[in-house]
Subunit: 364 residues, 4 copies
């Protein structure tokens, strides 16, 4: 896999920096005949877009996606049909305020990639974090909108299940609630809690981490492949590639380490229609790296935003010891906007494995 | 990336089934001029080898590795120097007892990959789990022995840090202890606890999960690449590809989700030799997907062995509902033997990124 | 390798159709610190650009390249320094006359990819050939401009050495002549011959094939790798990927089949500076897939433009038998404009192997 | 693509040196349910095997293939059914006479890869050419035997069509003749000519080049993909990767450069069964990189064996000027044994594209 590409048959290459001219992606390998509109893609981008509430960065980017290739426009002037050739999508940057970053061009912000980029490349685009900015994920979300269409019936949804020391009550889980609040929490009872908690953090110029859960339904059984083409492995890889992610779980994840074999076994029966079903889903829909037909469940931990107003000890490019404070505009909890990004990444992983499975086995 | 290959410049392709003739791997892209012996590789295999204590499966495999290509043998008759061409390694199977599995050839063991392999391929080698058996990981351990040599000074060590509901006391961490006990725990105070706990589980024909931690030291700063060639992403992918792994963490992992930005920031100073140092390591040695020079720390959760003596509800290949009990020979806690496997995978990921970084930047 | 990507460490992904909104490429893996300007890239695009003489298509595209990411602009406002992140380049289409193609949207032009695209995808962008148009190669030329900078001192030049039944006189080879005539021939004595010959073909609404030779100098010895990463293999692959190319040769190529071992052997001596030299170059600078330090020489055959004014028998998408005549605007000899494209592809192949060699061996 | 791997979904990784312990390959991505026997694979290896006539090297290797993984053995004890997991195949070396090479361990044989391997790696296995020996191709032939089974009905055949200054008379082409003579020529009238010609060359301790043609029939239309996944591009890449190959052609190849658009156009009609047919096949069955359903025709030029008995000027590893004469055992015309190798490579390329096409489009 390349530096800026993911996927094998459904391949996504992204490009662009936070404060550059534009950013975008090329989706290669999309099957022909898939119908989509720019408005559909835009809807996912809008979900990820900054400046939507006081809980996300105040940078105001329209994040308007433009599809440049890989489609035939239908007579209605909006429906695009994929032709099987690369789909190039671009989002222009409009609200860069690079001067916000001028004074830290040579200072290494703790928790940021400033130091490591400089060590690696000897040069970096420091404006807004450049390529290491979460702004790059807009391109992933656009790619995910296409990926969702590749697998018939696929539904991929995400939700915030924890913020800092607080977690949701899973018994109150309601998918319809997710888009009704600025936190993407599925638990209506948690909204006020998160609001108050995050308000305090935001006003203190601080930040906090979060946990996001992604559930994919209608994933055909059989996707994935031993031993290094496992579906869970690729989901882990895709999710860990999102900025600020420090942990990934499939199904019960780390809790599985505490279980006995009897507890962990997802027993099977035949349902009333003569179809195999699982009586539980500790495995998160994946056995031996291959989808079982049960919902695919993944979770990931997002660290707190590294940009905070409290000065931290650091060094600059000359090795001088400095105190760094990050002004700029930032999300107090980047985990919130990671929800649509996580959905997109899981959708892309499933789409890729769907095509790979069809290629090798012809069984779809 | 292919179905059975991992890595980009340091590429490993494994092959072989649990009860087939042999298993092995091809290591492609190893730099020339690296010195190794079969005995060195064997030492790592011996650490992973079954039948070493009553806490691991009683299958007795010598796991004798044979290096078939990619080296020039030195005059001492044991030292091999890599030539830059593919290093092929093979381990013959000797102690297959396939009859143990005969009665479950058509039954789907809960938690195993039996059902998903059948759905995917329509045919599978059911003997000992075939390709989905953890026996495949012997080949990875052999590859890891080579990988460790690729990066000068690299030290990769692993330890068991949790078993079921018990975790170690990190204040008693002693690397020297790890090889002194059958659990690879670094905490001398935990040995008796784990022994008693696992004895009970083993005698009950049950099994239990575990958590393993891998620490890589002397990793040069600058390895990894944005955005889909992140070092942490590849480590997550590699570790999640190990059988039974359900979660992966880098640095503080899921704990990071609970931290504030102030708590999570690894502050920097210059040390007495004028070198940048980090005052903490919440990040686990990786920032923006690129190594920082601090130790790389990863953890992974291993689910309990799915093979247990208690019957579980399942179905067979004809859709008939059956109760399945797995006789055979099994590890009550596969997480133990995952320690050397995890080490090998992290070593391979770092070796690959070392070569990639050198390739793109020439900075090593 | 993906459908629309080439290269391993120096990777190029292109996108866009002939009559779409735009076309472009993403160059991933370019080393950091490389200096370039849009004007430098434009110079190569201008060489390939249509409408430059009566011997190329009269479509008039400015082919203005815009670099969108992967660089830091220097204070002079024109010099760009690569940052090691993806370099995205875009060329907008301006002179599409899609109506020219309307009547053949469902007819299969002999020699074109119309039929095979329809069979493969069931849908295609028929306007100007869509993705199968040579217009796509503008993106490759832009990528090649960057590739040339990756290998210090590298010089890659191309020339037309044959047109239809005529070939140049190699004794008159003069690199300086190449840019002095509309055919890129290095033989001043061939200009009038080619002019008269092609005039006749053009006026008859016909077309003719050509042979192009590319020579790369200052290629370090050691690039390439056995067995499927051979430099000559990749050059063959890259050149054969150019539209209308039907044959590729390295060094003596097909003539080598007629030679004896004595004739074909490039003998070696030490030169006056104690450096190994070859006394001849039948091998075209590559032995065992690895560059020898001698100039790399490759040639490729370009078939005649398939668009001709004489009606040809064919079928349409409904299986009806039709006679097809291609109006539109076309090159009577596409081989001419293939010269800068061939240069770009060879430069990209060498750049990729340069980085790969450095990665694996650290010997550069 | 890696150094020693080819293919995307049907992937082949080869390993092993000429005079090492063994050589082999891992075929990854083979569809499940394919039936084969070791004897079938062996038949192709026997065709390539040395020591079959006085016209090939007198090294006598049984080249006995052993399949180590990736199959379930049927009750007949010989039929293997692929399981979709990696098929590992091994051929042990038995007749190494490394002492033949002892005196040239540090001398660079002109035309061989000795010098370039040393420059690249700083170390090489000089015995029998090591990894650069054509012996490696035995593994490819084994892989090709599997590949032929992947595409239903696929027939891939090869023939020698030229040796040195002599070419066959294509009007006498008879596929049945190919296996009746030691040259794989399809022209019965050329056998005596080639015999006498090659006898003279052999007795003089010299060698000669050859041209080989491969024809693949029953290739479904639609395989291949624009722009860098072209079927012809990959065939060119695969064939150029064979030792000593210096040129590759598709269809009319270099002759196409001499044709007019009218001459080169393969016109289409509907046949009596209402199926599209081509009235000629200048294109060699590939248009725009995608198979058209017409036979795929490729040709490649093989240079003369570099090992000859006449001393040639060269240098050694210390830069000393020496005269080199290659004793050992060699083919006077390596092009002969390249016939089954070329067949295998074309079969592998088609199998890979068959799976890729099925994956992306689901149209097979």
């Amino acid at each position: 896999m390349s530096h800026n590409t993911f996927g094998h048959l459904f391949r996504v290459t992204t490009w662009g920096e936070s404060h550059g001219i534009a950013l975008g992606c090329v989706v290669d390998g999309c099957p022909p005949g898939i119908s989509f509109t720019e408005a559909e893609i835009q809807a996912y981008l809008d979900k990820r877009k900054p400046g939507q509430s006081k809980y996300t960065t105040q940078r105001r980017e329209p994040d308007q996606v433009k599809v440049l290739s890989g489609f035939m426009l239908q007579d209605d002037g909006v429906t695009m049909i994929s032709t099987g050739t690369p789909i190039s999508m671009m989002i222009e940057n409009t609200d860069q305020r690079s001067k916000d970053y001028g004074d830290i061009a040579r200072q290494y912000r703790p928790g940021h990639a400033d130091y490591t980029y400089d060590v690696k490349y000897g040069i970096r685009d420091y404006r807004g974090g450049g390529r290491s900015s979460a702004r790059e994920t807009a391109a992933r979300v656009a790619a995910g909108a296409i990926a969702r269409k590749v697998v018939p019936g696929l539904v991929v949804r995400g939700a915030l299940v924890g913020m800092g020391i607080h977690t949701i009550d899973r018994d109150r889980w309601d998918w319809d609630e997710v888009d009704n609040n600025p936190f993407f929490t599925p638990d209506p009872g948690s909204v006020d809690l998160f609001a108050g908690y995050l308000d305090g953090i935001r006003k203190a110029g601080s930040s906090i981490g979060a946990v996001v859960e992604i559930v994919a339904e209608n994933v055909p059984a059989g996707l994935g492949a031993p031993v290094y083409g496992k579906l869970d492995q690729d989901i882990a890889s895709y999710l860990m590639s999102i900025n600020a992610v420090k942990g990934v779980e499939i199904g019960d994840g780390f809790e599985a380490a505490k279980l006995s074999g009897e507890e962990n076994a997802d027993q099977m029966r035949m349902d009333n229609h003569g179809k195999p079903i699982f009586l539980s889903n500790h495995a998160g829909g994946i056995l031996g790296g291959i989808s079982s037909g049960a919902p695919v469940v993944a979770r990931f931990a997002v660290k707190p935003t590294s940009s905070i107003l409290t000065p931290r000890q650091s060094i600059d490019a000359d090795g001088k010891q400095v105190d760094v404070m990050t002004k700029g505009r930032h999300d107090p909890c980047v985990g919130i906007r990671a929800v649509p990004i996580g959905e997109a990444m899981v959708a892309c992983a499933i789409a890729d494995h769907y095509l790979r499975h069809r290629g090798q086995t012809g069984r779809i």
